[in-house]
C-alpha cells in the first residue's frame, strides 16, 4: 500500500482549496461548493486514518457517512437561505449583502 502521507497531503490540499474558495468567491453557491469540498477533504482524512490505523474497525468509515449525510442536509438549508436572499435582494453576490453593517 502507498504510505498514509499521500492521503493526508491530498486531504490538506483539498481543504486548502476549499478555504480559498470560501474566502475568495463572490457567489454564494460557489462558496457552498467550496464548503462541500472542505467537508469531503475531512472525510478522506478520516477514512485514511481508519484504514491504516484501525483496519478491523468501522469508526472512521461511519464518520464519513455521517459527514456526507449532514453535508447534504446542510446544503439543502443553505440553498433555501440563498434563494430567500436572492428573492429579497436580487443578487447572489455575498459582497453586496451587508445589511448588518455597523
Amino acid at each position: 500500500m502507498i504510505p498514509i502521507q499521500h492521503f493526508l497531503v491530498l486531504s490538506s490540499i483539498l481543504f486548502s482549496l476549499g478555504i480559498y474558495g470560501v474566502l475568495a468567491r463572490r457567489s454564494a453557491v460557489l462558496i457552498l461548493m467550496s464548503i462541500e469540498l472542505m467537508l469531503q477533504a475531512v472525510s478522506i482524512n478520516f477514512i485514511a486514518f481508519a484504514v491504516y490505523l484501525y483496519p478491523k474497525e468501522f469508526s472512521g468509515l461511519i464518520f464519513a457517512i455521517f459527514v456526507i449525510t449532514i453535508a447534504a442536509a446542510e446544503v439543502g438549508l443553505a440553498l433555501a437561505i440563498i434563494l430567500r436572499i436572492f428573492r429579497n435582494k436580487a443578487t447572489a453576490n455575498v459582497d453586496e449583502v451587508d445589511v448588518l453593517k455597523w
Binding site: 470560501v22 455575498v94 449583502v97 448588518l100 455597523w102
Partner: protein, 637 residues
C-alpha cells in the same frame, strides 16, 4: 422623687420640643405656654432633687448619685471596651448648675413672650429654646463623656439655630456660622481629649475615669495632654482667647437668646467642664492649670479693653461676658472650683439681668447703638434701675452678689498665683467698673441723643419686667450664700465653700486687704467713668484722639478677626482650591469621565469590524483557527 429621678429634668423640655416641633403650629399661641410649663416643671423638680441631695451630702464618702440605662455595650477584639450609656449624675456641682439653668431659662422664656411677640416664627423660637434647655440640662447631668459630648454639640447646634433666628439678615446667618465653626474647632479638641482618656481607662464614665486617674492609670504627660485637649473644648465654648471671636457677633440673635445662651448657660458649659474635670487637672502636671490661667487672664484683659470702645449696648455686655468667663477660668486655674462656681452662680443672674434689661431698651427704642440712646432713665426708670444694679454687681460693688463672687476669685488668685496675675486681675476690676459705668451713663443718663427713638420709650410690660425684678433681687442676695451662717440656715452644710468644692471644703474667709483693694479699684473705675463720659463726653473724645493707635486697635478687636479672615482666605480656602482642583481634574475628569470615555472610544474603534459581509467574517474565523493551531503546536498543550 429624688436624685434618681433627676433625668426627668432634661427629659420634660425634650418632650416639649418634640411636641412643639411636630404640632406647634396647631397649638394656641403656638405653644409658648407648653415650653414655659416644661421648664417650670424642670425648675420645680429641681427642689426635690436638692432636698434629696442635702439629705445625703453630709455623708463623708458622698460622691454623687448616678442613674441611667446602658444602651450599647461591647468589647472590641483589640483595644478598650465601648459603652453608650444614657446616664445621669447628680452632685453638688451639678445642682448649682441646675439651679442657674432652670431658673434663668424660665425667666428668659417668660420674658420672651413679650419680647418676641408678633414674630413670624414665634413657635419655632420656643421649640428651639426647649431643645436648648434639654441639651444644656443633659450636659449638666451627664455621667459619661459621650453623652456629655452629644449634649455639648446639642447646645452648640441650638446656639446656631437661635443666633441665626432672623436668618433673613445676612449678618445673623454669618454670625451663626461663625459661632458654630469656632466652637467646633474647640470641640475637636474635646473629642480628642475624651478618646485619649477612654483609650487607657476603657470606659467613658466620668467617675470611673477619675478613679483610674487617681490610681495612677495615666502617666503624667499623657494625662496633661488629655486634659489640655479637654480644655480646648472649653476654650471654644466659653469664648476664651483665641476662640472668643464668635461671642460678640452672636449678639445678632434675639436679646433673650443672648441672655440665656451667651451669658448664663451655654458659655459657662466650658467652665463647668473644667470644674468637673478638676480632679484630673490636679493629677496632671501643673502646666495644665497654668495654661488655663494664662488664657483666662489674656481673655480678661482683652475683653475688658475691647468693651471700653464698643458702641452697641449688647456688644458691651457680650464683652463683659467674655470678661467674666476669663475670670472664672483664672479662678479654676488657681485650683478653686468654689470661687469659679460661686461666680458662675452670681453671674448667671446679673448677666441675664443686664441682657434682658438691655433687651427692654432695644424693644422700646428700636435702637442698640449708644450713639442713639441717652437719658433713658427718665422714661424707663425701672429698667434703668435694674440695669444699673446689674452693672454695679458686675463691677463688683459691695454688697451685691458680684462683689462676693469676684472677691472670692481675687482671694484664690492672690493665694495661688504670682503677683503679675494678681495685679492684672485688680486692673481688670478697675477697667470693668469703667466700661460698665460707661454704658450706663451713655444709655440712661445725660441728654437723649436721638429724640425720635425715645418718643415711645417706656418701661416694658409686666411679663418682661417681672423677670427683671426677680433677677435683680437675686443679684442683690445671691452672693450671701457664701456665708456659712446663711448656708446653714438654708439647710446646707455650710456656706458655698462647704457645699461646692474639690478635694476639701473651703470655709468662708474674708481677707480685708483684698476686699478694700478691689472696692477702691471698682469705685475708682466708676468715678473715672463719670469723668470721661458724663455730659458731652469731652474727656473721652480727647483721650481717644490722644491715643488714636490704641483706640483703633481696640476698635478693630486687636485685629484677631482680621488675622482669622486672612488665614481663612489664604490658607484654608487656598488649600480647598487645591483639593477642589484635584477633585475636578483627577477624580472627575480623568477617573470618572476618563474611564467612560475610554469605553466609548474603544467601542467606536471596534465597531468597524462589523462590516456585515460574510467573507470578512469567514476570514476572521479562518485566521483565528490558524493562529490557535500555531499556538497549540508551539506550546504543545
Amino acid at each position: 422623687m429624688g436624685m434618681e429621678e433627676a433625668w426627668l429634668i432634661p427629659a420634660i423640655p425634650a418632650g416639649a420640643f418634640a411636641v412643639l416641633l411636630l404640632f406647634g403650629r396647631y397649638l394656641p399661641r403656638r405653644g409658648d405656654w407648653l415650653a414655659i410649663a416644661a421648664i417650670a416643671a424642670s425648675f420645680a423638680l429641681f427642689f426635690p432633687v436638692l432636698v434629696d441631695l442635702l439629705g445625703e451630702v453630709d455623708r463623708a464618702d458622698f460622691a454623687g448619685v448616678a442613674s441611667g440605662i446602658d444602651w450599647v455595650k461591647f468589647s472590641l477584639p483589640t483595644g478598650p471596651d465601648f459603652q453608650l450609656r444614657l446616664g445621669f449624675f447628680v452632685d453638688q456641682l451639678a445642682i448649682v448648675m441646675l439651679a442657674v439653668v432652670t431658673f434663668v431659662t424660665l425667666m428668659v422664656m417668660v420674658y420672651s413672650t413679650g419680647y418676641m411677640k408678633g414674630d413670624p416664627r414665634y413657635g419655632w423660637y420656643f421649640a428651639a429654646m426647649s431643645l436648648f434647655a434639654a441639651a444644656m440640662l443633659t450636659l449638666v447631668l451627664a455621667d459619661n463623656f459621650l453623652l456629655l459630648y452629644a449634649a455639648w454639640e446639642g447646645v452648640g447646634f441650638c446656639s446656631y439655630l437661635l443666633i441665626g433666628f432672623w436668618h433673613e439678615r445676612r449678618s445673623a446667618s454669618e454670625a451663626a456660622k461663625k459661632a458654630f465653626i469656632t466652637t467646633r474647632i474647640g470641640d475637636v479638641g474635646l473629642l480628642i481629649g475624651i478618646f485619649l482618656l477612654w483609650r487607657e481607662a476603657g470606659t467613658f464614665d466620668i467617675s470611673e475615669i477619675f478613679e483610674f486617674a487617681k490610681a495612677g492609670g495615666y502617666s503624667a504627660e499623657y494625662l496633661t495632654m488629655a486634659v489640655l485637649f479637654l480644655f480646648a473644648g472649653a476654650v471654644g465654648k466659653s469664648a476664651q482667647f483665641p476662640l472668643h471671636v464668635w461671642l460678640p457677633d452672636a449678639m445678632e440673635g434675639p436679646t433673650p437668646v443672648s441672655a440665656l445662651i451667651h451669658a448664663a448657660t451655654m458659655v459657662v458649659a466650658g467652665v463647668y467642664l473644667v470644674a468637673r474635670m478638676m480632679p484630673l487637672f490636679l493629677e496632671a502636671d501643673p502646666v495644665a492649670l497654668n495654661v488655663v490661667t494664662a488664657l483666662g487672664l489674656t481673655t480678661v484683659m482683652m475683653s475688658a479693653t475691647m468693651g471700653l470702645v464698643a458702641t452697641d449696648i449688647k456688644r458691651v455686655i457680650a464683652y463683659s461676658t467674655i470678661n467674666s468667663l476669663g475670670l472664672m477660668m483664672v479662678a479654676l486655674g488657681s485650683g478653686s472650683v468654689t470661687a469659679a462656681m460661686l461666680y458662675l452662680f452670681a453671674h448667671g443672674f446679673f448677666k441675664a439681668l443686664l441682657f434682658l434689661s438691655a433687651g427692654s431698651v432695644i424693644h422700646a427704642t428700636e435702637r442698640q447703638e449708644v450713639g442713639d440712646l441717652g437719658g433713658l432713665a427718665r422714661r424707663m426708670p425701672v429698667t434703668a434701675a435694674v440695669f444699673g444694679l446689674g452693672a454695679l454687681s458686675m463691677a463688683g460693688l459691695v454688697p451685691l452678689s458680684g462683689f462676693w463672687a469676684k472677691d472670692e476669685i481675687l482671694n484664690v488668685a492672690g493665694d495661688h498665683q504670682n503677683f503679675v496675675v494678681y495685679g492684672f486681675m485688680m486692673l481688670s476690676v478697675f477697667i470693668t467698673a469703667l466700661y460698665m459705668m460707661r454704658v450706663v451713663i451713655l444709655t440712661f443718663l445725660g441728654e437723649p441723643r436721638d429724640r425720635e427713638a425715645q418718643e415711645h420709650a417706656h418701661d416694658a410690660e409686666p411679663v418682661m419686667t417681672a423677670p427683671l425684678l426677680l433677677l435683680a433681687a437675686l443679684t442683690v442676695v445671691a452672693g450671701f450664700v457664701a456665708f456659712d451662717g446663711v448656708g446653714e440656715a438654708l439647710g446646707f452644710p455650710g456656706g458655698f465653700g462647704e457645699f461646692v468644692f474639690v478635694e476639701e471644703a473651703e470655709a468662708f474667709h474674708f481677707p480685708w486687704d483684698v476686699a478694700i483693694l478691689s472696692t477702691v479699684a471698682a469705685v475708682a473705675g466708676l468715678a473715672a467713668a463719670f469723668y470721661f463720659w458724663s455730659g458731652a463726653a469731652e474727656p473721652a473724645r480727647r483721650a481717644a484722639d490722644t491715643f488714636r493707635p490704641a483706640y483703633e486697635t481696640l476698635r478693630r478687636k486687636y485685629f484677631v478677626d482680621d488675622i482669622y479672615q486672612w488665614t481663612i482666605d489664604r490658607v484654608v480656602l487656598a488649600a480647598g482650591a487645591v483639593i477642589a482642583w484635584f477633585d475636578r481634574n483627577v477624580v472627575n475628569d480623568t477617573g470618572v469621565d476618563g474611564s467612560a470615555g475610554l469605553g466609548v472610544f474603544s467601542g467606536f474603534g471596534m465597531k468597524f469590524l462589523e462590516t456585515g459581509k460574510l467573507p470578512n467574517y469567514a476570514l476572521a474565523i479562518v485566521t483565528g483557527v490558524i493562529v490557535l493551531a500555531i499556538v497549540f503546536m508551539v506550546v504543545r498543550v
